[in-house]
Amino acid sequence: MFQYILKRIIEMIPLLLVVSILTFLFIHMIPGDPARLVAGKDATLEDVNRVSIELGLDQPIWKQYVTFMGNLFKGDLGTSLKTGLPVSNMFADRFMPSIYLTLLSMGWALVIGLIIGTLSAVFKNKWPDHLGMVTAVSGISLPGFWLGLILIQIFSVQLGWFPTGGAEGWKSYVLPSITLGAGIMSMLARFTRSSLLETLKADFIRTGRAKGLKESSVLTKHALRNSLIPVVTIAGLQFGFLLGGSVVVETVFSFPGMGRLLIDSIAFRDYPVIQSALLLFSIEFILVNLIVDILYSTLNPKIQYE
């Protein structure tokens, strides 16, 4: 197992290199010239060209890449074209709020999703199942920003229980994490249910029952564990998505996270910020995937990694 993890981590390095090259090419391929945006609406061509030279944008792409990577190895993520601030400085304030929001949304979605999914499967076609699935299906069917705006209207404007946005204090995390987690909770509940129903019909469960095992022990010891595989996949995927920040929720709640920063940077073609953010997301994503793969083999010893 440890060898496997080590191998995967070593594998990450060339992968990240490839990612960095691809993203670099990719973001420079998108039309748009940051120099013009930096220079301003009323700038003349002369101004734009001067800004371009100043920012090093007149250099060939490979040279810009080498400069970027060179600085990266020195621990310098570069300077934002838009703000003139160090990229690391801009990330510092936004990274942790995004992480907290992700963990919180994922945390409640996972717990509630598993509970609803399990209850629904166990009480299949009875009222807990119907109630659970109605909740879950409604949860996925709501567009995120719609839900967010409605929550703000009710809980912030009408009742005044929670702030409308920002990231100061636990209260400001409540509504965004509900909005962000709702869809995921529903998705997990549905997957848990369908997966659990499948396993409950499997041969080894029947064997267990035939051997006279208690139903509750069949459920917890065998069925649940086996049915968690697809659930873990989905949870892992969603976790990875969330780490990239959620533009919609961050916008609705004016949440100072990575998603909004990235979108603003894309709009401005702020190459150093986009490039560093994408690299950061890739690292996070690969790590999450590694954890998911490890969980696989923990859950199902039949799946083994050499």
């Binding site: 998108i30 039309p31 748009g32 010239d33 013009r36 220079a39 301003g40 609406k41 009323d42 003349t44 002369e46 001067r50 800004v51 100043e54 920012l55 003139g84 601030l85 400085n89 801009m90 304030d93 936004r94 942790m96 709020p97 992480i99 907290y100 963990l103 919180l104 994922m106 945390g107 409640w108 996972l110 717990v111 703000i152 209207q153 912030s156 404007v157 702030p163 409308t164 946005g165 920002g166 990231a167 100061e168 204090g169 636990w170 995390y173 564990r225 968690l228 916008t251 609705v252 709640f253 004016s254 100072p256 909004r260 920063l261 603003d264 709009a267 073609r269 969980l295 923990t298 859950l299």
Partner: protein
């Protein structure tokens, strides 16, 4: 690993996440207080993030607003957007418009204790002159040939060629502590040090920026202890903050939400005519738009009042010249009132009795998309089919400025807006109508070329004589308005929402928020 371990892990993850958030709460707890007014803090919510706190390198209104709480220039703007003295006691401009002499106020100290004097001014001006990466450098300061200290509190700046917008530039170029410039210039964009009524406290990127009262401020008056600026892009959220009292001031107040506030005694809404002109620029070098009758027909097809009602939720004024009414030397023109018959007749004369198909470009803001749809609906009335192409800003600017010659240009119509300082009529006209400004060189996207207008603009720029300038700009406005290189639409009215327990905060026509007398009633 056993199943029990798995559950433990999940539980652990959850606990961690709760704890982490808990910790952040403790750290941020202090700044959360005070909104109740106990230690008197005012929260101002604006629509966009601040970009930079470097006053010499700022292009956005919101950064400017925040800076103006902390920093002051030799000159500044009054509530109408016209130029007044601030750190300078008095100023004069030589007849050839090349020499600017400033007499400075005495006894002023920067927040770090440095003294404000001619030497400090020189350090600031030279910073902008020498550093080409600064935005202000290419806007006048690169024309400066010398900065001469005439006395401890007197300084003279000499230009190489006349530049009529220079006074506006001196108002924009706020003064930083010379110590900061010399010793910690990397900190300028993050934490500036000036002479203003408030000093910098902290800036949490993307979340808030806080300033605190500077007790040794040189002007008398009572003001609030703390002001926090928050970027809140979502209109609905900003309104909600004002209603709940989380924010004392919001700008801009979204017009479509105004009705929600009716009858709310805790909130005061103020309306300020702006210098933001909304229009559609028409490529006057491209067929069939090169025919002035087509362009005039388009103008006659559009109902400006309906535009203001539908697109701007009823707030705004018709654009009745090529510059907004608050801009220096503005003269009202004979407006194109909606007249479908006349428009159709003009089309017929131009040989397009059965209409034609045209393309309009714009960015992806919801306001722009609303405006483009409106133009589409109005031109349909005269038989012109408009196809809307909304493009992301970066792509759009590539499409427009990628064209190296007028012949290459694919642009037909562009739904866009322009704003400049009320005192800066040069910037409100030259980049838009001078033939030197045709893309890719600058923003004359109407590809408007009129040698007479060019020469008037040149003349106005090289004289220091205000009467002469006024005369020239009158001719410029009436000529361009008749040539109709734009579909003239409207001028925005800025809406500000303030809680009724606040006083001393106002917004100027460029959208700058002035807080120097901000206080609770």
């Amino acid at each position: 690993m056993r199943k029990a371990n798995l559950w433990k892990m999940l539980f652990f993850a959850l606990v961690c996440s709760v704890l982490l958030v808990g910790c952040s709460d403790e750290n941020g707890g202090d700044s959360e207080k005070g909104q109740k007014g106990s230690d008197k803090e005012i929260v101002i919510a604006v629509n966009e993030n601040f970009i930079s706190m470097d006053p010499h390198n700022t292009g956005d209104t919101n950064s400017n607003s925040v800076q103006s709480a902390m920093l002051e220039g030799l000159l500044g703007f009054d509530s109408d957007g016209q130029i007044t003295t601030v750190l300078a006691e008095d100023y004069s401009v030589s007849e050839n418009a090349l020499e600017y002499t400033f007499k400075l106020n005495q006894g002023i100290k920067f927040h770090d204790g440095e003294e404000f004097n001619a030497e400090a001014v020189k350090v600031n001006i030279e910073r902008i002159m020498k550093d080409e990466s600064l935005r202000l450098n290419s806007r006048g300061f690169n024309l400066i040939t010398s900065v001469d200290i005439l006395g401890d509190y007197e300084i003279k700046v000499t230009l190489k060629t006349p530049y009529s917008a220079m006074l506006t530039r001196f108002s924009v170029a706020k003064m930083l502590s010379p110590k900061l410039i010399k010793e910690n210039s990397d900190d300028i964009p993050k934490s500036p040090v000036g002479t203003g009524p408030f000093k910098f406290v902290e800036w949490v990127q993307g979340d808030h920026l806080t300033v605190e009262r500077y007790d040794d401020y040189w002007k008398k008056g009572e003001r609030v202890k703390k002001i926090t600026y928050k970027p809140v892009p979502e209109n609905g959220s900003r309104i909600a903050m004002l209603k709940t009292g989380e924010a004392s001031v919001i700008y801009p107040l979204p017009a479509q939400n105004l009705q929600e506030l009716e009858g709310n005694k805790d909130i005061i809404v103020s309306k300020i005519p702006s210098t933001i002109a909304r229009y559609v620029s028409i490529n006057t070098m491209k067929e069939p738009f090169d025919d002035v009758r087509i362009r005039q027909a388009f103008n006659y097809a559009v109902d400006k009042n309906a535009y203001i009602k539908v697109v701007n939720s009823g707030f705004g004024l018709p654009l009745d010249s090529v510059i907004p009414s608050k801009t220096l030397y503005y003269v009202k023109q004979d407006v194109y009132e909606q007249n479908i018959e006349k428009a159709k007749e003009l089309l017929k004369e131009a040989g397009f009795e059965n209409g034609f198909t045209a393309e309009i470009w714009g960015n992806t803001n919801s306001d722009t998309m609303k405006g483009m749809q409106f133009i589409q609906q109005q031109l349909k009335e005269i038989g012109v089919t408009v196809e809307i192409k909304s493009m992301e800003e970066g792509t759009l600017s590539d499409e427009i400025f990628g064209a190296q010659t007028p012949e290459e240009a694919k642009l037909q119509m562009w739904y866009v807006s322009w704003s400049s300082y009320a005192s800066d009529v040069t910037n409100a006209t030259k980049p838009l109508f001078h033939s030197e400004s045709i893309p890719p060189n600058s923003a004359n996207t109407a590809y408007y070329k009129n040698t007479e207008v060019d020469s008037w603009m040149n003349e106005a720029n090289s004289t220091g004589d205000a009467t002469k300038q006024a005369e020239l700009y009158e001719k410029i406005q009436s000529t361009i308005y008749k040539d109709a290189p734009w579909i003239f639409l409207g001028v925005d009215e800025l809406l500000v929402g303030t809680r009724s327990d606040i006083e001393g905060i106002y917004v100027d026509p460029t959208g700058g928020i002035n807080v120097s007398d901000a206080n609770f009633k």
